[in-house]
Amino acid sequence: MKYPSLKVAVWVMITYIFSIEVFAHNWVITEEDLFAEIDSVTGVTHLKQDLEQVPAAITIIDRRTIESSTAVDLVDLFRLVPGFQVYSVHANRTGVTYHAPGGEYSRRLEVKIDGRSVYESFFSSVEWNTLGVDLDDIEYIEVVRGSNAPADGSNAFLASINIVTRSPLTEKGTQVKFSYGNQGVQRASFSHVSQFGDLASRATLGIKNNDGFESFSGLHLGEDKFIPIDDGAETVTVRYHGLWTPNATDSIDIQLGVGETETAIGYDAYFDRTWDNTYQHLSWKHIANDWSDIELILYHNSLDFIDESDGITLSRLINNHQISEPYKSILEAEPDQNQWIVDPQYFQYSDRWDAELRSNFYKWDNVRLNLGIASRYDSVKSKQAFPIKDEISQKTNRGYSNLEWTANDQWTLNYGQIIEKPSGKASSSSYRVAANYQSSPSHMFRFASNSSYRFPSILESNQNTFYDYNGTVINYVIRADSEVNNERLISHEIGYIGSFPEQHINLDVRIFDESFSEIIGQRREPYDSLTQDRINIRDNTDNIQLKGIEWQLKYRPSHKLLIDLNHTYLEIEGNSLYANLPSGDIYKSHKTSVPKDMFNVLLNYQATNDWYLSASYHYKSAYDPNVSGSDSKLEKSFSRLDLKTAKRWFYGNNWIELSLVAQNLGDDYADHYFYNIFESKYILGIKMGSS
């Protein structure tokens, strides 16, 4: 099927912007002016919709919840979202996933900061440490629970997160923050808001260090184990956000950032990785008239990462690895025994350019329509992952539309579809259909189905990692199958939203049935070489069926008390093709690859003016990370209790806040892998602000 050229579509939309009358000078105010909708939830379909109208389950983590929480890092907040699992691959490599197993690189979430997609092109995962977004930078987070591919594209396969940062308009003056805690936690941040002529600006500088987890020493599965862990991190980020509003109908946002993170990579064996990232983001919103608006979004993300290790020389290879004859004798005869087989340093980069133009139309009485077109250019470079081509790029065009039809007082229907076309590959289309039934002002039921595709990441479809000597492959680490297909998800859900203003309670329930097929993982097959008899292959190896129920309850009787509860119950079935061997295929079951139960409660009480007390309790049942097939099986469920207290004092235009956070009071627990021991963490913070 041939789709209209992107250039033509862009031209049509730009012509449309400049051809419409902005202010009709009609000074009569009608009922429609009074009912005008002000920007509300937009993350699901990009349309202005109330929670009762959206075609998916939504969790909003607002400013009050963020300040009430016991979170120290951004990722801690996702424990407040039902169905979300937060885990540590190591202390500074956090995985966040929704329902499905996450793995070392959780690759199936769309994560955006103010509409800019931040999952990187290489692994299609999010490097949370490099984002540079502090809790104080966030206005609110909008989480779409369930696939949002019809609006956000292929990588919103499981769910979609939009982190909305604080506008330069919502703050004033300067703020400085220092935190100090055990486990080497040291943090400092500085932010300043100013007005340069018509440009409102907010600049932030953040520095943070931590030592990571302690080395593991103890019993595991009846054996004494010692695993040295070196997963600390140092991060420096600088961010700038500018807002220019030349008139009432146009606003232009400019965001720039640069950062560096020194950390480690790997699990149970570590080597150094340095991330250097920059981004430039521009968005222009034009409210064209009473019934439409248009938004142009342009951004560029660049992420360089340098991996450093001791490397492997030829002599070290011979001495430390079992090499069969006659290869061993050939290698020993080589005069230069110090030549590198595995380099001590590998430079890699991941680069993305994205342009998106979208428009919302509210012209019709019962219909709201959203149209968008976009083009993305991803390029990655890695001598390690792609030793032959070195640099690989991919252009992807996409066009989407979401439609909301209010059929009557009780029924609202939504339909959304996206068509994505990567260069050199067939196009695919994801869609969602939903019917929301409002039986009364307090009760809304949602029935929705979703069919989504996810394209393989550049790494998943192109990886070919091997180490050779004079053209002879010594170690073939992994290669991609030549025909890796798109991943597929078909899901059905019944949702319920109950609003009980008299009781100050909001309840959100989602019952779901999600069927994943052609999920990309790793299989093994026989391979005869100097050092190995098997090779790992990236391929469509997994099929998973997930069923369950999740709910969240928010109780806010007054501005003094907040209680948020959520619970998830998951049942998983399916298997993973572990190996194709001459003796037959070997499959691993997914039966224990996700926690069956997750529960979280957050309680915040404002004792007196500006003195806050918070407590949160999190429970996760046992599961097997099922990534390496090693002995990493987690046998115990865990729970953790976090406490926080904070007090703020005001002195004229200045204020000072002291806070103490204690995470995981009580026994230590193993986070994701048995050797990641999460000990009690205490962080003392001081914040000062001046306007």
Binding site: D33, L34, S40, S167, E171, N247, A248, H559
Partner: protein, 327 residues
């Protein structure tokens, strides 16, 4: 010549006086004709500006107990169904329009039956009365009964006073549609011994530079509803700047509260339908006076997150849905 000038000046003054909302209301009460309609009707005709659930909901609420306790028949038409409207006008005993567009269609026909214009703003009704009857009193004298949708500004001020103690400076934003009423807002605030800071927003200039100094120096900020575009394009900046300066915003709709205003007082569908149903019954009484009806009921809604941010306690007695407005 002098006489002509005098005559012209007198009529200009009279016209201005009649067009002033307060004087108009007074005159309406003074000279409003006593209803002479039959005190019984069989059939009502509802004309909707739009075929949307919001409008239909009000009809459903108005007619909810008609089948049980009354024997009224009724029909619902959309204002673009011209042929159907003409056909049913003659057989209807009362016409109820919902929205400005439907009111425009029906007032143009100058029907003999009593007309209730509901879901209509004061601004829109004045415009239609001028257009079809010359002025408001003539429209009322012809049997038109508007139920105004916009809550009086005084109610927003009263809500503000009950929420925020020790306030002195009241910031108000008005748009081009309300430019001529600037003195009304100034006097309303001054009557309460408060200091008004009125901003007439210019949509062609940077809204933030206009809003920031006013919000910054106010104890509370009250945006007045204007055209859709002004409302939508300024709301986001008002709410963000108010957050920055910790200034409460008192809005005029549920949407404003959802977006971040501390509170709003507005007419909900339940409020509108309740008053409409009562007015229909009232039309059947002999002593009914045709008049402009201010909204009798109101809904007050709060944003608890904003209250938390501002460290404000919301009086429990203020939070209510659909009730006689005691603000």
């Amino acid at each position: 010549m002098n006489g002509y000038k005098l005559k012209r000046g007198f009529f200009m003054t009279l016209r201005r006086a009649v067009c002033s909302p307060r004087v108009a209301l007074f005159l309406v009460f003074l000279f409003a004709p006593i209803n002479s309609y039959s005190n019984k009707f069989d059939h009502a005709l509802f004309i909707l500006s739009k075929d949307t659930p919001d409008y239909k909901k009000i009809v459903n609420l108005v007619t909810s107990d008609w089948k049980k306790s009354k024997s009224y028949g009724y029909m619902i038409l959309i204002d673009d169904q011209s042929a159907e409207i003409d056909k049913n006008l003659k057989t209807s005993d009362i016409i109820i329009t919902l929205g400005t567009s439907a009111a425009d269609k029906i007032l143009a026909k100058k029907t003999a039956q009593p007309v209730i214009n509901t879901l209509i703003t004061q601004s829109a009704f004045k415009s239609l009365a001028d257009k079809h009857y010359g002025n408001i009193p003539k429209a009322l004298a012809s049997g038109v009964n508007p139920i105004l949708l916009d809550q009086p500004f005084e109610r927003r001020l009263n809500l503000t006073r009950r929420l925020i103690k020790n306030m002195t400076d009241v910031g108000v934003m008005i748009g081009p549609s309300n430019a001529n009423n600037q003195s009304f807002y100034t006097h309303s605030i001054e009557e309460l011994n408060l200091k008004p800071k009125i901003l007439l927003i210019d949509p062609d200039q940077n809204p933030i530079r206009q809003l920031d100094p006013v919000i910054k120096s106010s104890d509370v900020f009250i945006p007045v509803a204007d055209s859709h575009l002004i409302n939508v394009t300024t709301a986001k900046w008002i709410l963000q700047l108010a957050y920055r300066h910790r200034v409460p915003v008192i809005g005029y709709s549920a949407n404003y509260v959802a977006a971040g205003a501390l509170a709003s007082v507005y007419s909900s569908p339940q409020d509108v339908s309740k008053q409409t149903a009562e007015l229909i019954d009232s039309l059947l009484t002999k002593n009914h006076k045709n008049q402009m009806h201010l909204p009798r009921y109101c809904t007050v809604k709060f944003n608890k997150t904003v209250a938390w941010h501002l460290n404000l306690e919301i009086p429990r007695d203020l939070e209510k849905n659909t009730g006689r407005c005691d603000l």
